[in-house]
C-alpha cells in the first residue's frame, strides 16, 4: 500500500509535466514577440513538475504504509457540495439566480446535514432578500429573468 496523498501528488506532477510539454509545443510556434514569456513559463513549469515528481520519488513518502481513512460522512458532504456547485450553475442559467437559491440553498444545507426547518426557512429568506436588496435594488445590476417572470 502507498500513501494516498503522495501518490495523488505524483500523478499531478506527471500530468502537469505532460501539460507543460504539450503547452511548450504549442507556444513554440507563436510569433517571436509573443512567445518569450510563454516559452519561459512552459520550460520552467516542465522543469518544476519534474523536480516535484523526483522529490516525491526520493522522499520515501510513496512507500509509507497508510490505512485507508475515508470518513464516509465527510465524503458524502463533499459529494453534496460539489453537486450543488454544478446544480447552482445549471439553475442560474435556466431558472434564474433567486429561483435557484430559494430551492438549492436549503436543499444543499439539508443534504449536508443541517436539519432545522425553521433555520433553513429563515436563513434562506434573509439570504435571498439580502441579495435581492443589494444587487437589484441598491446596485441595480441586470440579472437573468427568473423562471416565474417569464410569462410577464
Amino acid at each position: 500500500m502507498i500513501s494516498r496523498k503522495a501518490s495523488a501528488e505524483l500523478v499531478t506532477a506527471i500530468v502537469l509535466m505532460a501539460l507543460s510539454l504539450l503547452g511548450l509545443s504549442f507556444v513554440w510556434h507563436y510569433p517571436d514577440a509573443s512567445r518569450i514569456m510563454p516559452v519561459a513559463i512552459m520550460i520552467t513549469a516542465t522543469v518544476l513538475s519534474a523536480i516535484w515528481a523526483l522529490q516525491l520519488l526520493l522522499s520515501g513518502r510513496l512507500h509509507i504504509q497508510e490505512r485507508p481513512t475515508i470518513d464516509r460522512a465527510v465524503l458524502r458532504r463533499l459529494v453534496v457540495i460539489f453537486a450543488s456547485l454544478f446544480l447552482m450553475l445549471l439553475g442560474i442559467s435556466t431558472i434564474g439566480f433567486f429561483s435557484t437559491y430559494v430551492v438549492l440553498v436549503p436543499a444543499t444545507a439539508w443534504f449536508l446535514g443541517y436539519r432545522n426547518p425553521k433555520g433553513l426557512a429563515i436563513g434562506t429568506a434573509i439570504f435571498c432578500a439580502g441579495l435581492y436588496l443589494v444587487f437589484q435594488v441598491l446596485l441595480n445590476r441586470p440579472l437573468p429573468r427568473e423562471v416565474w417572470m417569464l410569462g410577464s
Partner: protein, 508 residues
C-alpha cells in the same frame, strides 16, 4: 507627503467612504469570527460588490474587512479554542484559558484594545515608510521593474509554501492565466484554445473569487463544524474588570514593533507575528509560567502583533508590488479591479486614492474600537450561524457577485472551475497567493521585458547591465536558496507553541 495626505483627507471623510469603512469593519469582524472563513475569502467575495463604488470607498471597505477580520479571529479563539483566522492561533494559548477561568469578557476586551493599538501603529508605519520607498522604486528603469516583478513572484512563491517547487508552480499557473487572451502588443491569441470566450482573457476578479471563495465554502461544508451554545456564554463571563494596564502597555509596545517588522518581511504573515510576539512576551515576563494558562499579556501580545502585521504587509505590496502576505496579494487584485496598477507608480499617478487607502487602514483601526465595543454581543452570536447553511450561501453570493460584473455565465463557470482547481491545490499544499500575484505581475513583467529588449535591440545582456538589476537578481537567487534557511529557523521556532497546540495546528 503631507500635501498628498491633505488631498486625501476630504475624500476619506466623505459620507460614502466613511459608511463603507464602517460596513467593511463590521463585515470583517463577522468573517474573522466565523471559523473556516478567512480574510482573503471575505475580500474576494465582496470585491464584486465594490465594483460600482468609487475606488476609495471600495478600498476603505477592504481596509475595514482586513482590520476587522484580524480582530474577529480572536472571538472563536478565546471562546471556542478555534482560531477564526490562522493569525489567531497564539490568541488561543492564553485567551481560551482566561475564558475557562471566567474572564471571557476581559479577554475579549484585551483582544479588542490590542488589535486597535497594533492596527494604528501599523497604519502609521505604512504612512511613514511607503512613500519614501516608492520614491526610490520610481527611479527604476524597465529592466529593474522586470526583475522587481520577478523578485515579488519568487518571494511570495518561496516564502508562502512549505515546498518552494509548489509555490513556483502556482506562480506558473497564474502566469499562464494572466497571458490568456489576445496579446495587446501583437494581436496574437495566446492560450485561448480557439475558444472565443477566452480571447478577452480571464479577469483577476474571476481568479480571485474562484481561488479564495469556493475552496473555503467546500471546506466549510466538509468539516461541518458544530458550535455548542454554552461555549458562547463564556463571552459574557466575568464582571467589567479593569485591564492590567501596567503589564499591557510594555507588551503592546514590543508586540506592535514585532508585528510591523514581520509584516514588512514578505510572506511571513500574521500567524508568525503573533507567535513571535507571544513567545517574546513570555520570554521577557518575570513569571513566564503564567503564559499558556490565562495570562492577559499573552492575549495582548498575540492580538497586537497580528493586527500590527496588517498595514505593514502593504508596505512592500504597494511600493514594490511584493505583498507581505496572501491578503495583501488579494488587495493588490482589488486595486487592479479599480484600475490601479500596483507598484511605485501608484504614489505618483493615483496619489489621493493611494494615500486615502493608507489613511483608511488607520481610520478603520480606530473604527474597530467603536464597532468592537458596541457590537461585542452581536459578534459572539454570529458564531451561532450554522456552517452547513453558510457554505451554499457563500457559493450563491460568489456566483451572483461575479455575474453582476460582466453579465457573463461563462465567468461563473470559470469561477467554479478555478474554485475546484484551488481546492485541489489547497489539499496538495500548493499556495494560492503566488497564482494571484502572477496574474497581477505577469503582464507587467512581460511589458517591461519587451521594452528592455526593444531599447537594447534584442540584447538580453541589457537586463543585467545596471547595479540595481544585479542586486535584484542576487536577491532572487537568495530567495530561491532560502528554503534551506527556513528549515533551520523552523526547527528552532517550533518550541514556541505549547506541544498540544503545535501538534494540532501543524497537522492542518
Amino acid at each position: 507627503m503631507i500635501d498628498n495626505i491633505l488631498l486625501a483627507l476630504p475624500l476619506l471623510f466623505s459620507f460614502e467612504v466613511m459608511l463603507w469603512m464602517v460596513v467593511g469593519t463590521v463585515v470583517g469582524v463577522v468573517i474573522g469570527g466565523l471559523p473556516g472563513l478567512s480574510t482573503t475569502m471575505g475580500i474576494a467575495v465582496l470585491i464584486p460588490l465594490t465594483f460600482t463604488m468609487t475606488p476609495l470607498a471600495a478600498l476603505g471597505m477592504i481596509a475595514g474587512i482586513y482590520n476587522g477580520a484580524m480582530y474577529g479571529g480572536a472571538i472563536p479563539a478565546i471562546l471556542l479554542r478555534i482560531p477564526g483566522t490562522p493569525a489567531g492561533i497564539a490568541t488561543v494559548f492564553d485567551g481560551h484559558p482566561m475564558a475557562l477561568q471566567g474572564h471571557g469578557r476581559q479577554a475579549l476586551k484585551i483582544a479588542l484594545y490590542s488589535s486597535v493599538i497594533g492596527g494604528v501603529v501599523s497604519a502609521i508605519s505604512l504612512l511613514l515608510l511607503a512613500p519614501p520607498l516608492a520614491k526610490v522604486a520610481l527611479k527604476f528603469g524597465s529592466a529593474e521593474v522586470f526583475w522587481l516583478a520577478m523578485l515579488g513572484l519568487t518571494t511570495i512563491a518561496v516564502v508562502l509554501s512549505s515546498n518552494a517547487v509548489k509555490g513556483l508552480l502556482s506562480a506558473c499557473f497564474g502566469l499562464v492565466i494572466g497571458l490568456i487572451g489576445i496579446d495587446q502588443m501583437t494581436g496574437n491569441e495566446r492560450f485561448t484554445l480557439n475558444y472565443i470566450h477566452l480571447t478577452g482573457g480571464i479577469g483577476i476578479l474571476v481568479l480571485l473569487t474562484g481561488l479564495y471563495a469556493i475552496p473555503p465554502a467546500i471546506d466549510l461544508a466538509a468539516k461541518a463544524l458544530l458550535i455548542k451554545a454554552e461555549d458562547l456564554k463564556r463571552g459574557n463571563t466575568g464582571s467589567d474588570e479593569s485591564l492590567p494596564w501596567r503589564r499591557l502597555v510594555p507588551t503592546w509596545a514590543k508586540s506592535s514593533t514585532i508585528g510591523v517588522l514581520v509584516g514588512i518581511v514578505p510572506g511571513a504573515g500574521g500567524n508568525i507575528a503573533s507567535l513571535l510576539a507571544w513567545s517574546e512576551a513570555r520570554r521577557s515576563a518575570k513569571d513566564p509560567d503564567r503564559f499558556g494558562k490565562g495570562a492577559p499579556e499573552g492575549v495582548a501580545a498575540a492580538e497586537c502583533a497580528n493586527n500590527a502585521d496588517n498595514a505593514s504587509a502593504l508596505i512592500p505590496a504597494l511600493t514594490l508590488g511584493i505583498p507581505g502576505n496572501a491578503v495583501a496579494a488579494v488587495i493588490l487584485g482589488g486595486l487592479l479591479v479599480h484600475g490601479l496598477q500596483p507598484g511605485p507608480a501608484l504614489f505618483r499617478d493615483s496619489a489621493p486614492v493611494t494615500y486615502g487607502f493608507m489613511l483608511s487602514m488607520l481610520v478603520t483601526s480606530i473604527l474597530l474600537l467603536i464597532v468592537g465595543s458596541l457590537g461585542a454581543r452581536l459578534f459572539i452570536s454570529v458564531l451561532r450561524l450554522p456552517a452547513l447553511l453558510l457554505a451554499p450561501m457563500i457559493i450563491g453570493m460568489t456566483y451572483l457577485g461575479i455575474y453582476s460584473i460582466g453579465n457573463s455565465l461563462f465567468d461563473v463557470a470559470m469561477v467554479t472551475a478555478i474554485g475546484i482547481v484551488g481546492y485541489a491545490m489547497e489539499k496538495m499544499d500548493i499556495p494560492l497567493a503566488p497564482a494571484v500575484l502572477a496574474v497581477i505581475l505577469g503582464p507587467m513583467a512581460e511589458t517591461e521585458l519587451r521594452r528592455s529588449l526593444l531599447i537594447s535591440q534584442g540584447d538580453y545582456g541589457f537586463l543585467f547591465s545596471s547595479p540595481i538589476s544585479l542586486v535584484l537578481v542576487a536577491l532572487i537567487l537568495v530567495m530561491l536558496l532560502s528554503p534551506l534557511v527556513k528549515k533551520l529557523i523552523k526547527r528552532k521556532a517550533s518550541p514556541l507553541m505549547p506541544k498540544d497546540l503545535a501538534s494540532q495546528y501543524n497537522n492542518d
